[in-house]
Amino acid sequence: MHQRKYLGALLAMAALALAAPSPAHGQHAEPAAHNATTTQQPDTAHGADAQAGEKSIFGGGIGNVVWTTVIFLVVVFVLGTKAWPQILRVLDEREKSIRTSLENARREREDAEKLLVQYKQQIERARVDATAIVDEGRRDAEVVRRRIQDEAKKESDEMIARAKREIQLATDAAVKELYDRTANLAVDVAAQIVRKELRAEDHRALVLESIERMKASKN
């Protein structure tokens, strides 16, 4: 679109250049023409008619204007369509890309800062929670410890009581056995003492008595 706009201007320039010399040209046309005519003399005198007016630094004419116009227009048109739009597009894209990158970077930094704040809060919360959990754990452990301690104490007390009871029973049994054995021993001792004291007649009487008892029991 841009090309078309100034292309119009240049086409107008071309038309003007072809139609009539511009005032700018008119102003220096005179010295050019003057020089051409003055230097023409010696050249034509030497027979170099094609080179007429060549020695003037203002050599040339409207043909140069036409050529320059055409060549310049071609350059402006070709570069204006093939090269410069590419550069303008790249410049524009680069500008946008840099702007986008900077904006993205800013946004990401802000996001990162927000996230950092969030994480810090989370970590703080987690620390508080952890402390609470540890405290609670400690309390629970204390309770459990007490309970276990109590239970152990109770159990041990019971065991002691049972042991005492068993000891008591064993003691009683032993005492009883001691009595029994002592009685038997006493009887045995008494029997031995009695056997030595009895005489034959007493034996006979006792045997007879026993036989009588057996007879009586048979009956």
Binding site: Y6, A24, A52, E54, S56, N64, I71, F72, V78, A83
Partner: protein, 271 residues
């Protein structure tokens, strides 16, 4: 070497004047119509170089991906570097919102003049001395008709775009100052346009002529370097002044408000 080659001619003028081989109206002065001369050949050569090299150069990219497409490579760097520098440093401050509209034209002007100037520094005339009629070599921008045409192109760009964007206001802005002086000032202003155009034309032509004549006379390497500088400098000056003149024409309202505040007079003073 270059200087020696350039200095080898008998007459220093031979290096700078136009050698016409075919003229439709020989000896016609202004109305002579050269159709084949060394300057025309050099212009065609410059145009071909530009048309072939620049589109290829600007397509040289570092890669095909999203970032690589935006990065120039090789010679494309040079072209883009010059274009960007001109656009940012010269066109933008002068043309403002019209920068991208006129940048392509101004870049074309710059490179056309630059290549024409630079081709004149290469002693092609001596390398191709076997070509009959001095058809190769010379500086086309040392020809007053060539620079005159380019200057007229600038003048037309100025006037046509001034009228296109501001119409009557563009004409009215010549008539400034008190009413009894307005016509006088307008005449001066309009004449000034012509003088500015003529100055553009003469400045470029005279510098190229003088520089290349000095090279031809002195044949000194140091002057070659100076001339390389001058080749760039005058392409730059011509482009800069074109941008300035177009900017003055298309930004009249902007300038007007800046310079005169809310003055109801439609005239704007820029000169």
């Amino acid at each position: 070497m270059l200087g020696l080659l350039l200095g080898s001619g008998a007459d220093p003028l031979d290096h700078v004047i136009q050698h016409t081989t075919l003229d439709l109206n020989p000896g016609g002065g202004l109305w002579s119509f050269p159709v084949l001369s060394n300057h025309i050949v050099m212009q065609v050569l410059a145009a071909l170089l530009l048309i072939i090299v620049i589109p290829i150069a600007v397509r040289q990219r570092a890669g095909k991906d999203e970032v690589g497409r935006l990065v120039p490579r090789g010679f494309g760097n040079a072209i883009e570097g010059i274009c960007v520098a001109l656009r940012n440093q010269i066109f933008q401050p002068n043309l403002g919102k019209y920068t991208d509209l006129f940048s392509p034209y101004l870049w074309s002007v710059f490179f056309f003049i630059l290549v024409s100037n630079a081709l004149g520094l290469i002693p092609l005339g001596d390398w191709f001395s076997f070509v009959p009629g001095h058809l190769v070599g010379g500086t086309s921008t040392g020809n007053i008709y060539v620079t005159g045409t380019l200057a007229v192109a600038t003048l037309l760009m100025v006037v046509i775009n001034g009228l296109r964007f501001h119409g009557g206001a563009y004409v009215a802005h010549f008539f400034m100052g008190p009413p009894y002086l307005a016509w006088f000032i307008a005449i001066l202003e309009i004449a000034g346009l012509g003088f500015k155009t003529m100055a553009l034309c003469v400045r470029l032509c005279a510098n190229m002529l003088a520089g290349h004549m000095i090279l031809a006379v002195l044949g000194c390497i140091a002057f070659n370097f100076l001339e390389i500088l001058v080749a760039f400098l005058h392409a730059f000056i011509f482009t800069t002044l074109t941008a300035v003149f177009i900017g003055q024409a298309v930004n009249i309202h902007h300038d007007h408000h800046e310079e005169h505040g809310h003055e109801p007079q439609p005239a704007g003073a820029h000169h």
